[in-house]
Amino acid sequence: MAYPTAPLEVLGLWTGWLLMLMIYSYPLYKENIVFRWAEHTYIAVMLAVNLVMMVTNVNRIAIQPMLQGQIHYIIPIILGLAMYTLLVADYRWISRYPIAVLVGAGFGLGMRGVLIPNLLDQVVSTITPPAGGAAMDWFNFIYIAIGTICAVSYFLLTYEHTGALRYPTRLGRWFIMIGLGAYFGNTVLFRLSMLSGRAQFFLQVLKIIPM
């Protein structure tokens, strides 16, 4: 991508660059007037974009089908508007109905969705012995099985972690820490790779390095 030449694009590039500096003034300096301005600008533009998306989405998935004869789409529109009764003290309770639909769909999909991938698949995967006979494969199998058993026992909430549970639960905590450490390390890659992109952009706009 070459450095833009059209005036509006150049203006846009510099606007983005300045907004970046305004936002980064928070971590690099402190909360200040330019950060506050960028903060409010962002809140406004994001809400505007989301509202426009809302209008286009509702039009596409509800209003257009309704106009084409699928009259039942009036139901979610009414339920959605029922949310706004929150603003009227006496009728606030009506807003619970649309929420009940959301909560029901969320729980229904959530509960049915965890049974196989989160529970059965995980148990099967834990107890499936390695296909080959390599010592390292067997070591990994034993490590994962014992680790998972101990770590799950750490989450027993109605039993004291003493007696027979003392060592498995303590060991379980260590396995959890290893998992979280690896995850943490991996996330460092993602975050810093994005920040590198910004550092690159900073230099590109100033034409210190090519775009």
Partner: protein, 252 residues
């Protein structure tokens, strides 16, 4: 097999909820994060600063993964709010999920009503900001301007967890975190004083209520865990001998 698992789970939850109601004593391990809430509120009262609460922004209520976490967080908010009303501490609830707004408002309103101070409730306690990143900038700005003494980051989080957590640390806030999103747990552990990990998030509301009905379901969960631990142990031993019939059974 998934259907059998669901039925077994529901039967166990129901059985122990029933036993709980019948008077069977159910002991639940104290969750340090929940035990720390009075400390968090007390700190705000001492310093005369507000308490910040957020359920994260990971998803709407109808999102299968994030919705239940947001609801669990709002359940805990009820408890926090009552503690705050008693101590005269101002709550600033940052709720970036529009469909959860009525629940947050209702929860806060009920807490004030239950403590006999309905007139102190104000809608201004609730801040809505649309979108993950603006919500983040809004929170950062708020932290520096209002300097809450304690922050409660419990719910469904995405990348904002580490930024809010670190920004909270910068202003010296006492922080309690909690999430079931594996990808954010390391950051809440790193930045918060106390943390509700995975299942603890869902159990937290029940554990503080001391309601035998709710405690019973936690006991049911533990029995289910024992069944799984048993399955895994037996399967592991069989696996060492390359016997796989249990695997075939579970795959049915």
């Amino acid at each position: 097999m998934a259907f059998i698992l669901l039925i077994v789970a529901f039967a166990l939850f129901y059985l122990y909820m029933y036993l709980g109601k019948q008077g069977k004593e159910i002991w639940v391990r104290t969750l340090p994060a929940m035990a720390a809430i009075p400390e968090a509120v007390g700190r705000c009262a001492e310093m005369g600063r507000p308490l910040y609460w957020t359920p994260g922004i990971a998803g709407n209520l109808n999102d299968s993964t994030q919705g239940p976490q947001v609801l669990a967080s709002i359940s805990i908010l009820g408890y926090i709010a009552r503690e705050c009303v008693r101590a005269g501490v101002k709550i600033d609830a940052f709720c970036p999920i529009p469909d959860a707004l009525p629940l947050v408002e209702e929860t806060l309103r009920t807490a004030y009503l239950a403590e006999g101070r309905p007139e102190e409730f104000s809608k201004d306690m609730i801040t809505f900001i649309s979108g993950q990143s603006p919500y983040l900038t809004g929170t950062l700005g708020y932290f520096q301007r209002e300097r809450p003494a304690s922050t409660i980051l419990i719910g469904g989080f995405y990348y904002e967890s580490v930024v809010i957590g670190e920004a909270g640390n910068t202003i010296g806030a006492f922080q309690i975190g909690g999430t079931n999103n594996t990808h954010q747990m390391p950051f809440l552990i790193a930045t918060c004083d106390y943390m509700l990990l995975a299942e603890e998030l869902f159990a937290a509301g029940a554990s503080i209520s001391r309601d035998p009905d709710l405690l019973g379901s936690i006991k049911g969960e533990d029995i289910l865990k024992f069944i799984f631990l048993g399955l895994m142990t037996v399967g592991f031993i069989l696996g060492l001998g390359n016997v796989t019939f249990l695997i075939d059974l579970l795959r049915m």
